[in-house]
């Protein structure tokens, strides 16, 4: 009789344990409205950014560094630095595809980022001074570094002033400066 009770207790424990393990494999973090986060993140920092590819104009080095510094100046302990890590910035002609810049982020089964590369599309015209008719390097770079943090693009009517707003126009420079929700994003992901 006692053995029977023990077996019953054991079977209940095993069932509950299995349910917990299986359900945890399907857990996904919820998105918040002020910023959009994918749940993927760096397992350690600082994160080195290689801006030394031959395709990157020398005049771009400073605005790229300034874009990193914009995110680094927040209270979050996360930061970027310039190095030779294999996480690269490159400039390449991808044609008239409607996308001035694209970020590729690889991650593993633990949702840890393993590699990031950002490609600026040289089909479009670029400027380091907010020149009319051209895309501003620092403006777009600050947005792209938000993707390195795995902040998603925002497309709502109330998001137009945020750095992570998903559209960009020529001559625009407002993404150079983070808005409150952009800052809340990095501080929440890397508290």
């Amino acid at each position: 009789m006692q053995n029977l009770l023990s077996i019953k207790k054991l079977s209940i424990f095993v069932v509950v344990f299995t349910l917990v393990v299986v359900s945890s494999a399907f857990y996904k973090p919820t998105e918040l409205k002020a910023y959009s986060y994918s749940g993927i993140h760096w397992s350690s920092y600082p994160v080195s950014v290689d801006t030394g590819d031959a395709s990157v104009p020398l005049s771009w080095i400073t605005p790229l560094a300034q874009s990193m510094a914009t995110w680094n100046s927040q209270t979050s302990p996360f930061y970027f630095n310039v190095g030779y890590s294999g996480h690269q910035i490159k400039v390449q002609n991808s044609g008239n595809n409607g996308a001035p810049a694209t970020a590729y982020i690889s991650y593993d089964g633990s949702n840890h980022i393993t590699d990031v590369d950002v490609y600026f599309n040289s089909y479009y015209s670029w400027s380091t001074s907010g020149e009319a008719g051209k895309y501003d390097v620092k403006n777009v770079a600050t947005h792209e570094f938000g993707h390195w943090l795995m902040l998603n693009d925002l497309y709502g009517g109330g998001d137009t002033e945020k750095t992570m707003y998903g559209y960009v126009s020529t001559g625009e420079t407002k993404k150079r400066t983070l808005e409150t929700d952009d800052i809340n994003g990095i501080n929440a992901i890397y508290p």
Partner: protein
Amino acid sequence: MKKFTLIALIAIVMGIGSVAVFSYYRNLSNPKTTYVSSILAEITPDDLVKQSSGIVLGKVEKIQAIKIPSKIRANKEDIVTIATVKVEKYLANSKNLSASYIDVQVLGGTVGNETMIAEDSPTFEQGDQAIIFLNEMDASINAFTIYAGVQGKFTIQTDGSVGNDKERVYFEKVFGKDMTLRELEDKIASISSSLSN
């Protein structure tokens, strides 16, 4: 007998649990996932019509994911999904296209244990009716790219409205409001006419 049944039940549950745990940890070490995100150029309806090599209304008959040399990053491969579309009509056709079936490629998909998730890329579902603003033909795989990515493809809903829930956000940004297919066809015709004058 009861004892045996209980033991058997426990063994089955532990077996299922072990498989679940094993699969979970196996996925941790094996998956290769790349997330792709593009910042989008603000475009106008005139841009969309003028820059497209053709605008088609058609039905998606088949979709398939493959790996191809990347158009964005040199010496690397991307995963694209090819949608075979049965053309119902050409709404604009500056290149005098005449094929009754076309292949259209979009970034993203899964091949083997590799997945590419392209946040700003349109997606296709088999059976959907869609309006597609074509960009260039990729001769290597005989498939068109879509002009302006997620701003260049919209599913036609059963009530005749343009765009599913996700697509309507982009559609409204370009066109300023929701439209029915008929209204969009008229808009395209109007722009095409003004561009040719």
